[in-house]
C-alpha cells in the first residue's frame, strides 16, 4: 500500500478535485427534463471521459499512471451516474453536486487503497 505522503496527497487531490468538478458539470448539464436512465448513462460516460482527459493532463505527470487513471475514472463514472441521475429527478444545486463529487472521490480513494492492500500483500510463487 502507498505510504509516501506525496503520493497519498496526489491520490486525494486528483480524486476529490475531479469528483467535485464532474459533480459541478453534471449539475449544469442535467435537469429534470432528462429521463433518469439516459441521464445516468450519459452522465457515466461524461464523467469517465472528463476524468480520463483531465487525469492524464493534470495529474499523470506528477502522481503516476495507473495509480491516477484507474481510481479517477472510477470516481468520474460514479459521480457522473449519481449526480446526473439526481439532477434528472430533482434539480440539484451546484454545491450539492460538488459535495457528492468530493465525497465520492474520497470514498473511491479509500476503497481503492483497501483493495490494493489486499491484492498486493502476497507474492505468488510457482
Amino acid at each position: 500500500m502507498e505510504k509516501r505522503p506525496y503520493f497519498i496527497f496526489g491520490d486525494l487531490l486528483s480524486n476529490v478535485f475531479l469528483g467535485s468538478l464532474i459533480g459541478l458539470i453534471c449539475t449544469w448539464v442535467f435537469d429534470p427534463g432528462w429521463g433518469m436512465f439516459s441521464a445516468m448513462f450519459i452522465g457515466m460516460l461524461l464523467g469517465m471521459g472528463i476524468s480520463l482527459v483531465l487525469g492524464v493532463l493534470l495529474f499523470f505527470r506528477y502522481f503516476g499512471a495507473m495509480e491516477v487513471m484507474i481510481p479517477t475514472m472510477l470516481t468520474g463514472m460514479l459521480v457522473g451516474m449519481f449526480v446526473a441521475m439526481g439532477s434528472s429527478m430533482a434539480s440539484l444545486s451546484a454545491t450539492t453536486g460538488v459535495k457528492i463529487g468530493a465525497l465520492t472521490g474520497l470514498i473511491v480513494m479509500i476503497v481503492t487503497y483497501a483493495t490494493n492492500h489486499l491484492l498486493t500483500k502476497d507474492i505468488q510463487e510457482f
Binding site: 480520463l52 503516476g64 495509480e67 484507474i70 472510477l74 483493495t115 498486493t120 507474492i123 505468488q124 510463487e125
Partner: protein, 204 residues
C-alpha cells in the same frame, strides 16, 4: 518492422520524459530497481524508450537494449553514454529479432507488452533467443481480473491504444502461452502493475 507501432511511439517520443519522468518513475522506481537487481550475464532489454529505466540498472552489466522507435533510441543516447557499464542501443522490433537461438542469459522488459501488437508471438521470439534455463523478468501493467477495474480498462483501451499502450492485456497468461514457466508474480498496484519472473525450462 511494424510501421504503425513505430509511428505511434515516434510521435510520443518528444513528450515522453515530460509525461512519465516524475510521477510514474517515482511510483515504480523501487519495484523496477528490485527487478533489475537480478541482472547478470548476456542481457536483452526491451523497450529502451528514452532510457529512463537506465537509472535503475545495476552497474557493470552488458546489455543489448532495443526499441521500435528510432526517435526514442536517439533521445536515450545521453543516458546510454552515462551508464557505468555497456549498453548497445538498437532500433528493433521484437517480432523480428535477428539473434540466433540460445543467445541471451536473461531478457528484461519494462512496460513493453502493453504495446506489442502480437504479444504471444513476441514472447515466443524471446523464448527462442533465451538459453535453456534463461530468465524472463518483466515489469508490466496488464488488465485486471476484478470488477469494476476490468470493465474500465476494457473501456479505456480503444482510446489509450491510439496514442500509447493497451490497458487490458493478459500478459501473465500470454507468458504461459508462449511456453515459459512462471516462477513468481509480484503485484505492485492492484493486480495491474506487476513484476513477472519466468524461465525457459532447462530440460528442453
Amino acid at each position: 518492422m511494424d510501421n504503425k507501432t513505430q509511428r505511434k511511439w515516434n510521435r510520443v517520443a518528444k513528450n515522453f520524459d515530460f509525461m512519465t519522468g516524475i510521477g510514474p518513475d517515482k511510483r515504480w522506481g523501487t519495484a523496477k530497481q528490485a527487478l533489475f537487481s537480478h541482472m547478470q550475464g548476456n542481457i536483452l532489454f526491451l523497450a529502451l524508450g528514452t532510457g529512463l529505466d537506465i537509472d535503475f540498472f545495476p552497474k557493470n552489466q552488458t546489455i543489448t537494449a532495443i526499441d521500435i522507435s528510432p526517435k526514442m533510441v536517439a533521445l536515450a543516447q545521453p543516458r546510454v553514454a552515462a551508464y557505468e557499464g555497456e549498453i548497445e542501443a538498437k532500433v528493433m522490433d521484437v517480432h523480428d529479432l535477428p539473434y540466433s537461438p540460445n543467445t541471451f542469459d536473461q531478457v528484461y522488459t519494462s512496460c513493453t507488452f502493453c504495446s506489442v501488437p502480437k504479444p504471444v508471438e513476441g514472447l515466443q521470439k524471446l523464448y527462442e533467443v533465451l538459453k535453456p534455463g534463461g530468465g524472463l523478468y518483466m515489469f508490466e501493467h496488464t488488465g485486471s481480473h476484478y470488477f469494476p477495474f476490468n470493465m474500465m480498462m476494457h473501456l479505456m483501451t480503444p482510446i489509450s491504444s491510439q496514442v500509447g499502450p493497451s490497458m487490458n492485456r493478459a500478459t501473465t497468461e500470454n507468458v504461459r502461452r508462449a511456453g515459459f514457466q512462471i516462477t513468481k508474480v509480484i503485484h505492485h498496484y492492484l493486480d495491474v502493475v506487476k513484476s513477472i519472473h519466468a524461465e525457459v525450462p532447462s530440460n528442453i
